[in-house]
Each structure stands twice: as C-alpha cells, then as structure tokens.
Amino acid sequence: MRVELKNIHKHFGAVHANNNVTLTVEGGSIHGLLGENGAGKSTLMKVLSGYIHADAGEISLDGGNVKRFKSPADALRHGVGMLHQDPLDFPPLTLLDNFILGCDANLLQPRTRAEKEFRELCQQFNFDLDTNAFVSDLTVGERQQLEIIRLLWLGARTLILDEPTTGISAPQKIKLFTTLRQLVAGGKSVIFVSHKLEDVEDLCHRVTVLRRGQVAGEATSPFVTEQLVQMMFGQQLNIGKRSNVELGAPVIEFDHLTLKDDRLTVPDVSLSVQAGEVIALAGLEGSGQQLFLQACAGLLPPSAGQLRVNGIDLTRKPYENFLRAGIAYMPADRMKEGLVPGLSIEEHIVLAKRGKKDALIDWGRACQTASEQIKEFNIKGIPPTRVEALSGGNQQRTLLALLPPDLKLLALEHPTRGLDIESTLYIWGKLLERRKQGAVIIFASADLDEVLQYSDRILVFFGGHVIETVKSSATNVEQLGYLIGGKKQL
C-alpha cells in the first residue's frame, strides 16, 4: 500500500512537534524514519495510525483521500497498523484471546476460525507461538510477533514499527527483519522508526530523517552513514568550548557499580568525579542514563558494587543520607517526580528546606523567602502560584530555587528539554554558578550540542552499557552521533 503524508502539522502547547512534514512510503517497500529523541517521529506515526489528530495536513492511502483517522481502530480498518515500542497487548490474556480482542466480531467470538488462521499465519512466518500460552510469558520479541500477525489478521497493509529492535535479542532481530522483508515481498509496506543507524542501513529501502519536527532529508539505499548522521544531528561540527574550573577532591565515586530495574541492567560502572566537574550522559533514551542518575541521587539502590560520596560509603543507604550529603535530583518529568501539582511555590519552598525544620510553619517568612527566590530565579509567578500553572521553563526555575545552598552533587535529566532559548541559557548559567562553587553536575541530555557545550566528560550509553567515556574537548557531534547509534568507529 502506498502511504502519503502531506504537510502534517502538530503542536503540543508551544512545541511544534511536526512542522510541515511530507512523506511518501511506496507499496512493497521498507521505509525508515530516522531521527534523535524528540525529533517528531513518534508524533508523526501516531498521526498516521490514528492515535492523535494532526492540526493540519492530509493522509492519503493508495492515492485516495482520507482526511483523518478517528481512532487506531479506524486506521486499522483502512489498513494502517502500528506496533508500539512497548507492545500494547494484554499480559494476563492468552495469546488467542489477545489475538481476537480487536476484531469486529458480533456477540460471539470467532474462536475456531481465529485459531485456524492464527496457526496459518504462524506457519507462514515461521513463528512458534502457542495459542493457549499467556502473553505475560512471552519475550518482547514474541510479543512483537503476536502483534504483527494480529495486525495482519485485522487487515493491516501498512505496518508501522516504533523502535522494534529495542529490547529484543540478536536472533530475534534477524527473525524480525526476515519477517519484514517477507511482508514487503508480498506487497505490504513497512515503516521502520528507529534511531539506530545500523538497523536502518541494514533493512530499509529508503529513509526519511526528521530533525526538530521537520524533514531534514531523504536518502535511498545504499546509504552513506556520514550523510545520515549529518541529517540527524545537524551540519555544525562544533568542538565544545571548555571553561577552566579548578577541579577539587573526588565527590562521587562509583566502584564496579551494577544497576538494575525490571527492564534494563547497567553493569559494572566505575567512575570518579571531582568537585567542579560536569559529566554528560549521552545515548538513546532508555539506554541506562536514568538508572545512573537515580543511583547518583540515592533513589535506586545498586545491586552490586560500591557508591561513595565525599569518601563515605553510601551504597544502599537510605535516601535521607543522600539528602544530608548535599545531593539533589532534578527529573525530566517535572510534574511527576519533581514538583507536587496543587501546591504553591511557597509551599514547595517550605517542603524542600533541608536540615532543621520547624514543626509550625511561619507562613510570613515562607512567603518572603519565596518572593526572594522568585526574584532571584526570575520565576514568572507569585508565592501562592500553584506550580502546575507555571510554564515548563518556570517550573524548571522553581526546581532550581529548591536546591539546597550547600549543593555537592546535582543529577539532572534533560535540564532544558522543551524550554526556549532564554530559559535554557538562564538555567545553564545558574548551573555553572553552582559548579564554580564546587558542585558536581551530572546530566543526561538528548541534545548533543548541549552535551558538548557544557560537559567536561561524556559517558555514552548504549543498551545499558557505558560503551565509551570521552573528553568533551576531544570529540564532536558527528563522532557522538556514531557512538550513540552503536557504531564505535568514525
């Protein structure tokens, strides 16, 4: 099926997530959609699969005009199905129940027919899936297989796969690629969304690169890696400027630290960071940076190894000890982990105060402190303003205002994501002030310019591993782009 997206626009508040995107996917081809985090890939694909509506623009299938899809089910009726990065399936159900769930049956489930066709599809693609097994027992790769045959059974002629190679094993990846090639050989079309250069180069016939919501360029196989990297990350190859700060004693030391959550393992990290140093964590989203930052802040106990702060062993110590050591954490999701919606700026100031606290609140003084902080951090609000009424930039400034005066280590996720230039510069100004006072700053960012400009050293994460530690002065956007995409050589 030939899919055309014409002049798609989509805004989320002030963010122009898709800016006049035009894209054509030929029938019988695998089309790659490449771009870094936040480039607008997922938004575009959600528009195409009916999850969200575009503000403007058209979708046309096989030349006919379909204005917009009402829902994912509507998109599927027109032949467009999407596999999400985290499979949208039902772990407590059996495979067959999950398979039948989305079909347009009447009162009775077409179980016998479905089971027969399920087996046929499995046979066709050489999948080994048991209809009576439970979805919760499948690997991510098998869940993808289930989603693929389910979507095909429901009539999908164009399949969108969002980051399908994240979280599956190498043999499963080979199997997936074989399946996709088999599909397009049969006339279906596939849109393959990824930031992994290698996968895209290996699989796709044609690729469209998005950058900051716009089409940065297109290319046809065989691809020139250099060209793709340039399209993804921009042309400028600026070397980071280092400002000189005298480094002090080691503040935080990681000694063969292993971190785990239910999805990912970050094995064996060793690192020592000195006072005044800025460390950037680069990598695709979900490659382990968040675990690392939470471990720094004391919010995730390491499963092995040792973590020392100011020479004191804080491994698996309560969060309270980390707070007392002068450590602070600023999360990416400000309203979920950073601020309390429904509470005002002054209430936050009272809550976040460290050290000795009075049982009775002196609201007069709290209001005065809040006013001072509001002035100092240039927050557009008044002490009783609720934090959810602030803009993203002002929320971030509020978080900065809540940092303790004797800050030793600050772990930040995406310090300036979604902020305008003015806020970005302001926030970095404040952060670098803290650094001058001897604080360590460890931040994760998807913006390579930001990474290069502000850090001294960069840890590159790939699939949970720290694959490279580089000095910011000795690298550039292009090399980082390769490393992030999992390619070591330049």
Binding site: E320, L323, P331, K336, V340, L343, L351, A352, A359, L402
Partner: protein, 344 residues
C-alpha cells in the same frame, strides 16, 4: 467584575448539586407515595423539634464530627481509609476492655483511662491497615474492608464469649457499665457537653495542624504526589503511618463515646455506620475542615429525623440513608462534570 462573577459561579456550583439532590429526593418521595413537604418538615422537627431531639442530634453530631476530622487527615494524604468503621469498633472494644479493668473506680479516674485506651485501640487497628499498605502493597481499601470484618467478628466473639453477661451471651451486648463510668450528660438528656467540647477541640486542632504545621503540609504533598514529595525529602512512610494513627485514634475516641455515652455497654453493631457516614461527609466537604461541623450536623439531623418519619408518617426510616446517599452522589457527579468542563 470578575470577582463578583467568580463568586457567583462558585455559589452556583455549590448550590446546584443541593438543588438537584432536592429534586431527586422529592421525586423519590412522590414515587413512594409520601407527601414531600410534610416529610421535610417532619425531618426537621424530628431532629430539632424538642430539646430531647436536639440532644439526640448532637450526640450523633459528636461522633460524625470527630470521625470525619480524623478521616480528613487520611484523605489529605490520599488514603481511602475505609477501615474507619472497624477502627471505631475496635475503639469500643478497647474501651470496654479498659472499663473491665477500672470497673470499681471513680469516673474521674476510669473515664480518661477508657478514652485513652480506646484511642490506642483505634490507632492500632488503623496502623495494621497502614503497615499492610506500605510494606505489603495491600491496597488500603481492601485491607480496611478485611479488618472491618475481623473487628465485627471479634466483637461478636467477645459479646458471646469471654465478656458475656452473667445470665449468658445475648445480642443486647455485655453487662451494663457501673454508672460511675458513664460520661456525665445534661440532666434528662443524652448529650454530654464534655463530648461536644472535645469534638470542637478535635475539629480546631485538625484544622490548624493542616493549615499551620509542617506535618499537615507534608501530608498534603504526599496526597497530591507521593513520588515528588519523597524526592523533595518528605519522609513518606513515617508520615503515612502517623496519618493512619491519628485517624484511628479519632475513630477510637468515637468508639469510646459510643460505649460510655450512648450505650453504656458493648453491643454487636456498635459503630452504627458512622465511619462510612464520615467518609461521605469528608467527600462532600471537598476535604475542607471548615465544612465538617455543619455537614456533620446536617447528616446527624437527617439520621435522627428519619426515625421520626417512621413513627409519624409511616415512611421507612431508611429513607434518611437514601437521601444522604443521593446527596453525596449528586455532589460528586457535579464535581466530575465541573472538572470535565474545565479541562475542555
């Protein structure tokens, strides 16, 4: 201009649910063949018509005010303490236990002991729910429900077992307490001025601790976003435990009053549904302490007044409960609609 309009909007949104609830109530009455106006008049005279009825209404008010004040604390912290009913019952059980220990004592010694011990019992029963919730990941609604059943069963066991009357176990309850252990009441009436003062005191203390203490602010933060509160340095687990303990202690206090003011013995269903009514009151109050006293009075009046309906109009007294339920549902529905309109 916008101020007056805001005020207008606020008054309308506050009154609209009452009006809708009233209309539904009238329709219900008409449908059951009762004269609506007469019913409302009887509801009022049945609860406030004579000094004795006023006294009865205030006896119920004391229980509802205290239990809803306690529930406000757990609600602020984002917790659905459904187990409050069992916590009241546990308060009554502990009160009776203490009373058996001070059976021969003067009231001035015995009554404070009974009250304190009942508060310990209520807090203990609430802490069990909290510990299961915090350390065992058992949702407090299910935990509370479970402990309600256990409290009821334990109460029946005591009444028919170890604490049965000398003449044998009976549904009427345990042995009547010696009069020295009855809370002093106004002559000829059932209401105790000391209990009313204590209830007012509880309301004031809860109001100010939510407004002016770090504890109250931290609980509010936990209720709105427990993760962010934790990251900001709020010790979430000890605070949640303290919220349950305070609510349980309030419930236990109510349990003590039910024993030493109202029944003078432990009876099977001693908690009388006051815990659940307390939850409705807090829901109606939009979690605002200032509304608790008047709302508790309204609910107490409907409860007492509806017994009069039975006698005078031959309308089943459960109508009072129906009216209370309808009011709460309509108010919550209106809040839901308001939020939906605002978010659009």
């Amino acid at each position: 201009m916008t101020d007056t309009r805001n005020l207008f909007v606020r008054i309308t949104t506050a009154l609209a649910p009452l009006l809708v609830a009233l209309i539904i109530a009238v329709l219900l009455l008409v449908a059951t063949g009762a004269p609506p106006l007469d019913t409302f008049v009887k509801l009022f005279t049945g609860s406030f018509g004579t000094p004795s009825k006023q006294a009865d209404t205030f006896v119920v008010w004391v229980s509802l005010a205290i239990v809803s004040a306690g529930l406000l604390i757990t609600f602020i912290a984002g917790q659905w303490n459904i187990g409050v009913e069992g916590q009241i019952m546990m308060g009554s059980i502990f009160a009776t236990w203490a009373a058996r220990g001070v059976w021969e004592q003067q009231g001035i010694v015995g009554i404070p002991v009974i009250i304190l011990w009942a508060m310990v019992g209520g807090a203990f029963w609430a802490l069990l729910v909290a510990v299961l919730k915090i350390y065992g990941k058992v949702n407090e609604i299910f935990g509370g429900l479970g402990f309600n059943f256990i409290a009821t069963a334990f109460n029946i066991y005591l009444i028919f077992g170890p604490w049965k009357q000398k003449t044998g176990g009976t549904l009427s309850g345990t042995e009547i307490f010696p009069e020295a252990l009855w809370m002093p009441t106004l002559p000829e009436l059932r209401v105790s001025p000391i209990a009313i003062i204590i209830a007012l005191l509880v309301l004031v203390v809860i109001y100010f601790s939510l407004r002016g203490t770090l504890w109250g602010l931290q609980l509010k933060a936990i209720g709105k976003n427990i993760r962010a509160a934790f990251v900001l340095g709020v010790p979430t687990n000890p605070l949640l435990l303290s919220a349950y303990a305070v609510c349980g202690a309030c419930a236990g206090l109510v349990g003590a009053f039910l024993v030493i003011i109202v029944h003078h013995r432990l009876i099977p269903s001693i908690s009388s549904g006051y815990g659940f009514l307390g939850i409705l009151i807090v829901l109606l109050s939009s979690v605002n302490a200032l509304w608790l006293a008047p709302l508790a009075l309204f609910f107490a009046a409907v409860s007492i007044g509806s017994t009069a309906l039975q006698l005078e109009l031959n309308i089943d007294s459960s109508l009072g409960g129906v009216l209370q339920g309808v009011l709460v549902l309509v108010v919550l529905l209106m809040q839901g609609i308001k939020e939906k309109v605002i978010s659009k």
